[in-house]
């Protein structure tokens, strides 16, 4: 590396990096705070538990980052996870499908659902907020209806140990999440597809003019969240050995909170996978720490609400000012 490029690199601590560094510092402070104020927070067991919940959220938060970057949103992920898990169990228990083919069908369902949301957005011009709000209600309602609110248990030790347990000291879901992180991180930084998400979010009109298939890019982003909701649904079943209509209650909130805390702008164009990963751990750690403080789970939600609000305030001060002056959509 020449001296010149070295100097340039030094100059160039980007705003996105600033946010990530800030978040990392906040994360460490919160870690220290909980460690010194509670007895059982700073234990391997508890860290595993934090990692586990951060991982379920993360698997959906990565595709959600792309969705927000393209100026869309998917709030249906919680009910989508619950229904996918239930659908998986129903196929096995009621229709005698194998685990493998059930998983394949549920994943296909996830892809089709995302495709539907995308088509509704790009061809029928229905805002994703509305479509996914409708799905949020419909999927949870239907899940409760078919199960009459009762869980459906399955018993398969191999499935539970493999996908609901640990490998080499880390939860399986954490390994899967880390793999997904690498793929999404790589895609966002080094591929044309990733660049197109940013281009579409940065200036949809320009992107279209230049020849990017804006509709396809948005559909792809939305397929991402639905697909990963389906996958997380299956992984949840592996963890709790049952399908349950009440599962993943409020998960859409955790996912979107993690993404926004991670520095992604709700207005699109700005966001990184590293930020989202940190955001997931941050949200999971706060939830966990508050439980250790003995705070009522309902109050826990209040605290999380305040955090996402503050995150958006900080976010709009750090990034928005310089970022989102871009043209509005056509």
């Amino acid at each position: 590396m020449t001296e010149q490029t070295l100097e340039k690199n030094k100059k160039k601590i980007k705003i996105s990096n600033l946010h990530e560094i800030g978040l990392l510092i906040a994360l460490i402070l919160v870690l220290l705070l909980f460690s010194f104020t509670t007895e059982n927070f700073f234990t391997q067991r508890n860290f595993t538990s934090i990692l586990r919940s951060a991982s379920y959220v993360g698997l959906i938060a990565f595709p959600m980052t792309f969705v927000l970057i393209t100026r869309e949103i998917d709030i249906s992920v919680g009910p989508s996870v619950a229904w996918s898990g239930l659908f998986f169990v129903i196929l096995i228990k009621w229709y005698d499908f194998s685990y493998f083919s059930s998983a394949a069908i549920v994943i296909l369902w996830g892809i089709l659902l995302g495709y539907f949301i995308g088509i509704a957005r790009t061809k029928l011009f229905i805002p994703t907020f509305i479509t996914t709000l409708a799905l949020w209600s419909a999927l949870r309602g239907y899940s409760l209806f078919v199960t009459e609110g009762r869980p459906i248990a399955i018993s398969n030790k191999d499935f539970r140990y493999l996908f609901g347990g640990d490998i080499l000291g880390l939860p399986t879901v954490t390994w899967i999440m880390l793999g997904a992180f690498l793929v999404f991180w790589f895609a966002s930084k080094y591929t044309v597809t990733g660049t197109n998400f940013y281009a579409v979010g940065g200036n949809p009109k320009a992107a279209r003019n230049i020849g990017i298939n804006v509709d396809r890019v948005k559909i792809l982003a939305l397929v991402g969240t639905s697909l990963f909701s389906a996958i997380v649904g299956i992984l949840f079943v592996a963890r709790v050995s049952s399908g349950n209509a009440n599962l993943a209650d409020g998960m859409e909130f955790d996912v979107i909170a993690a993404v926004v805390v991670g520095g992604t702008a709700l207005g699109g164009a700005v966001g990184t996978m590293t930020g989202t990963l940190l955001g997931c751990v941050f949200i999971a750690m706060i939830s966990n720490g508050l439980i250790h403080w003995g705070i009522d789970p309902d109050l826990n939600k209040v605290v999380k609400g305040i955090i996402i609000f503050l995150a958006v305030v900080i976010n709009s001060n750090v990034t928005f000012k310089s970022n989102s002056g871009g043209p509005k959509e056509d």
Partner: protein, 246 residues
């Protein structure tokens, strides 16, 4: 050689007649200054050439062949590039990423294609050097001055083997020194045999680079003559309607 011929082009938006029977042609290596008041139809004309809009009536010949572009991609494939009035840049991407958007240089690793940023930065740097512009390839566009943004937008046209470059207000909202840079670039495009259409409200800029001046008034072509046979005074009068036609 006539590279682009517009025959009796009209365009209506509902009740608004944005273009009314415009006939105009363009030669390789020629710079045409397209002038007119706000709403005269200049941008509409450019957007029809570039395939953004379809004309309501009339025909377009490109290299003596009749063409009908249904989207900008098709015009670009033929060698018609536009720099839009609103620039059409993505603020959140770097200069190089903007220049190469949809035409990224990639390295193949089996099925995986990775964007070759170092090559893109290198080529973008050369493009900016040609434009005598101090624009950094790896800087995000949102940090840039109007002139640098213009260099990025014009840089896009240098990437392809454009035969016709259409510039909508390239010298609006940039500093005097940068105007000189942009005009210099237009001269370079001309020297390379590229046909250029420049839309501008700035009389001195148009006269500095144009071989020919065309004036639109309320959708009608009221003048189409050599720059050296006209004058800023005459063009001003044509734009306002003080002179009916020339």
């Amino acid at each position: 050689m006539e590279i682009l011929e517009l025959n009796n082009i009209s365009k209506s938006f509902g009740a608004i007649k944005a273009l009314d029977n415009v006939t105009l042609s363009l030669r390789s290596g020629e710079v045409l200054g397209l002038m007119g008041d706000n709403g005269a139809g200049k941008s509409t004309l450019i957007k029809i050439i570039a395939g953004n809009f379809k004309q309501s009536s009339g025909t377009i010949n490109f290299e003596k062949q009749k063409v009908e572009f249904s989207k900008p991609m098709e015009a670009r494939d033929k060698g018609i590039e536009v720099v839009y009035q609103d620039l059409a840049l993505c603020d959140n991407l770097t200069a190089a990423s903007n220049i190469f958007l949809t035409r990224e240089i990639k390295r193949n690793f089996g099925l995986i294609k990775i964007i070759n940023f170092s090559e893109m930065f290198k080529r973008a740097k050369n493009i900016f050097k040609d434009l005598k512009s101090e624009t950094l390839p790896d800087e995000e566009v949102k940090m840039m001055s109007g002139g640098q943004r213009q260099a990025v937008a014009i840089g896009r046209t240098k990437l392809s083997k454009a035969k016709v470059v259409l510039l909508d207000e390239p010298t609006a909202a940039i500093s005097v020194r940068q105007v000189a840079e942009v005009l210099e670039l237009i001269k370079q495009l001309k020297n390379q045999g590229i046909a250029v259409v420049i839309i501008s409200h700035r009389m001195p800029d148009v006269f500095a680079v144009s071989d020919r001046i065309a004036v639109l008034r309320r959708g009608q072509l009221v003048a189409n003559k050599l720059a050296k046979e006209s004058s800023p005074e005459e063009v001003t009068a044509l734009i306002t309607g003080a002179i009916e036609k020339a």
